[in-house]
Assembly symmetry: D3
């Protein structure tokens, strides 16, 4: 089976980290295809950038012309899943939800440790909409930006670990969720410090996507996520209007 | 003061209806500037189109180069308000919220009567995120599409009135909210049938926007809606990359 | 248009401060008529006094014999709005709700800073009943009584500012609501200290009342707030039974 | 021990029915003292009348000069309990809460059957504030006014029974709460029709009040229900200002 | 009337303390019969032991062959009440719920002070299921195990008092609930330290059970707690299969 | 990897159906070991039987002496998961939760169709505790008992399908969850009738269990689900005390 894993920002090295995390847990027969959006911010840290990413991810998926069996939206706390669910007829998994679903199976309460303070409300809102907030003890910010995550691994690891410890001790979390697509590699270090299971959304999303495909389950088309009604949509998909056709040659 | 009222779809006649509703209630000294997005669907009825509209509205506002004092996002149940709040430093009013805030001041429970069944979850989700769902008795669909609203006024009026009556009698609503930017003209007819106050989001949004400006209140920049961090954003704003520069000449 | 602004306590200087705040933001053509109840406590700080004020405000409004277009109940966190909504057929605005509605338009979470610790549950209960609690980060007490607010302005300002800062820093509030009718003048000072928008209920209530009147919207009479059924009510309104008729001469 | 049972309306025959219900279940050594307020409506069916009753009940209790061990506020869905809790230092029991607490011990969900449709929101609001709404399946109105309850017992019994049956069959209630102080005598008939336990608030309140006294438990004076701060209260208690002193002679 | 008070653990001295607390508040004519389960842990501190106790309590009640009028499940935060409600046709009172119901009548918010940290989620879950969590300010652990409660009374008293004080000062609790069947004797000491009413579940349960019996109220058999359907149950009740028949001789 | 799938009732044919459903979706390298409890009811339809099953499942798992990698509790809406999580150090998956987690990934709202009316509250309570109720549109009963499910397949299929259709049309469900371990084979028929995805808990649980094992994730031992403290537990595990040792010979 082939799973598209779509980054939400336009930083190719970040796409690569996400792909590595996905491939590390995928079944042998699962092909992971990583995609970077054509438009949008090089890191997504707020609603404006997140809305751009929602559209950029849909745009990128539409540019992928081969067959695929599932799509993973690999941005933590970002907008867009509901739109993808309408335009795809394969399972769509959002890493925020994948992580929360998994964390809820492992302990009484989980905490999310993310990047910047301003990202917390977005994550809280995604959990609230998904109905996955009741067992969320806290969403904590490490103070590090998305791009800083890639720069000094040991410093990052320390900052994240410190918030994770506070989550366990002060907020009574029993499971830690890594609240950014780019934190995947940190799980073992954080687990050592907290003695709690550490959940990475990308890994969880891969296993959930594989499960959905195996179980033959697809997004319901009964009402909310029915295919869009046929209508006139100006300048869409964006990549066809922004690029000359040969720019994308060879992309897929 | 000048208020931008931004339609969420690309249908110019709809923009005009919205502008009419806005101008009908604005103070004499308020200038209403109506804007139609450059990209997106000719009607917004679902998440995919709604996410496009979120970005298209931000894109359209960024293309407006003169001074303005407030922005109204004139799509009922649509995504995007939070992004606008980050990129604008004037008040931003979403018509879904404006209508709900107003309805809550007028009775114990309100119902929204909207277009298609598939739009209901979007409205429910906006109310839930905004924390305005507790006094919402129901979100009911008339079964009419957005564009049908413009075609046969008497048929439309009847279909909406029927659902509004059910809302009052079966769901115990005491106030009716018109759940689509294009329903503004129907308020009197529905009020006659239901004996309940009927609230139109565009009108309410204009008065709230004027009030915010008069009170000197602006979106908090403390955390969630702080300005975006400086970063590289590919192909943004969209209109600059989709159109040649002279296409937009004279637009503002 | 004429708006009645009714104080909840019997301290005339407090009524004056409230009237000043109301007049400062009212439209030119709006006439603000301030009223002080005949009965009740000289400051309202708890349920017993608040229930007295609920009845005293209704009693005072019934004693006003001229035409009016809207009523503002100018006590923060006090009982009584629902009763006023039944006996009036013009819009009724409660300053607690007015402030919360406004705050919710400006940021992700708001905090209320009020007088005494014992007043906090009343405010929490009003927000809960109104369905406006989801985005309330905290209700904090400054420890100052209502009457102390009038005595040493600089001390007051400092105590309120301190709690407002804690609300922003510890409770993640992004907007501050001044939780007492008598705090109106403090908004600018608090905004300077917190960098957050500061909302005063009286000002907000005036703009909302004006908006309702302009929009032609009145309290729904469908069910909950229908006029009282005709019945025998002993010794009501109170002022007719407590005072000899000439005591009130010239009052309106 | 002596328990004050205070009616919320000024209809003496209603006070008598309530007293009868109370005495029927009281311990031998418990003295029930029934009180009728001096002011207010002859039946309480809405917020305006309910606020009057809140003050009238406090006023009536203050006029009672002998010792007492507990107070029962005998109006279903009415305002006022929190005020009484501040001015009394004995236990205060509200019959709405007493009935809900009891019903929750007997089945998974309870429904309240009350008088008029307009009374339902008041009951819902009391249950919400008290945190007793989660297991409330519905609040249903029989369409009978409070005073009609006293007129044609067989008709009343039938109307209440019909709603109680619907509550069990349609709303999945397993316990029925009689939603009016004047319905006490109907419990056996309703139980026969529904096969569900039927709970009367006055009876439950008597047993709860006796239990509190026996257990030595009193209202907490720690914060919310601390005694009112000493202050100037105009024309209070009302009865002293409305009546000449000898009117009340011999009352207690 | 005869009330069975069933301990949840197999420690006979604990059963005795519970019986003492029950007898201290029971009416003269109430006979308290204390029962110790045949199987299960000598203290219940977690879900595994709590599930055992749920079954052990049902098993023990079924072994009691005489008449009884009510059953009290005397474990704080333990599983099992719903099963007992199905197999008994007399009132069943759980001490967690009894304490919470009582605490809610006495103040705006209550806190539970219990034994070990790991017991807190069980208590929170019982309160959530019972719909009694809204006014729960916190569930705090003293760090003492159930059996330590019996060993050094003065140390215990101090540790519990310390958490109770924090609950009042930091969590804004106004009432303290003793969160373990074995804490009954501590109420006066804690009340002295906190100035708040202190509620013991066993005492409250006795008064509630007596009240139910006096009011003639029994568990609803309408749906959820209907008697079990006749069916084959292997090796049940357990005591008949574990013991030879003469082991239990003379037990009741 | 080896996964234990434990039936909650003592009907061996039911265990076999569950095992078949599990094996149908398991990875090739996954060994499914089905277990039937030694004690308890031949069908579980209520709290009393469900509590027995909670203990019987723990007892049965403890009797299994070989290595295993995960445990599935295969009763829909039953008690016991939290106890298993304490005594096992491998992942524990409850089929109610597994089904709800999966359903939430596929549509906006799901409905559960189960056996008897009395089972609905148990399912509602499990979803509430797990924090998975927000997107549950309804829990509907087909009126069929657990054992009837095995008797007349076509009749069963029709009854379940009818409720599933109502769930989609009246309750706005977009996904159907089969609310009984014995309904696994019905998914295709129900999907045909409703056009909605149909989710079976056993299948979902197998994929989730496999995923947890692959991801190296285990139940958090930080607090709630820490191993039981060492203590004296009377007559436990039950099978050792009920059976002579040779009865169980060869069982594993």
């Amino acid at each position: 089976m082939r799973i598209l894993v779509v980054n939400v920002n336009t930083t190719a090295t970040m796409t690569q980290s996400i792909a590595d995390a996905a491939k590390a847990v995928a079944n042998k027969k699962t092909e992971i295809v990583e995609l970077t959006p054509f438009i949008g911010a090089d890191s997504v840290e707020g609603n404006y950038e997140s809305y751009l990413s929602a559209v950029a991810v849909m745009d990128r998926v539409l540019a992928y012309e081969d067959h695929y069996d599932a799509v993973i939206q690999a941005g933590f706390g970002e907008h867009g899943k509901e739109g993808l669910m309408e335009i795809c007829d394969v399972p769509v998994i959002d890493i925020t939800e994948a992580a929360a679903h998994t964390a809820m199976l492992l302990g009484y309460r989980f905490s999310v440790v993310t990047t910047l303070d301003r990202a917390c409300p977005l994550i809280e809102e995604r959990l609230l909409l998904a109905g996955l907030h009741q067992h969320c003890a806290s969403v904590r910010a490490s103070g590090l930006s998305v791009l800083e995550l890639e720069e000094d691994p040991s410093l990052v690891s320390q900052a994240i670990a410190q918030e994770a410890k506070k989550a366990v001790e002060e907020d009574k979390a029993e499971v830690i969720v890594l609240g950014c697509g780019g934190m995947a590699g940190l799980d073992k270090k954080i687990a050592e410090v907290t003695h709690a299971p550490v959940v990475d959304g990308v890994s969880c999303a891969v296993k959930l996507a594989e499960s959905m495909v195996t179980l033959g389950l697809r997004t319901s088309k009964v009402r909310t996520y029915a295919p869009p009604r046929p209508k006139n949509v100006q300048y869409w998909p964006l990549h066809r209007h922004i690029f000359s056709s040969n720019t994308l040659k060879g992309d897929n």
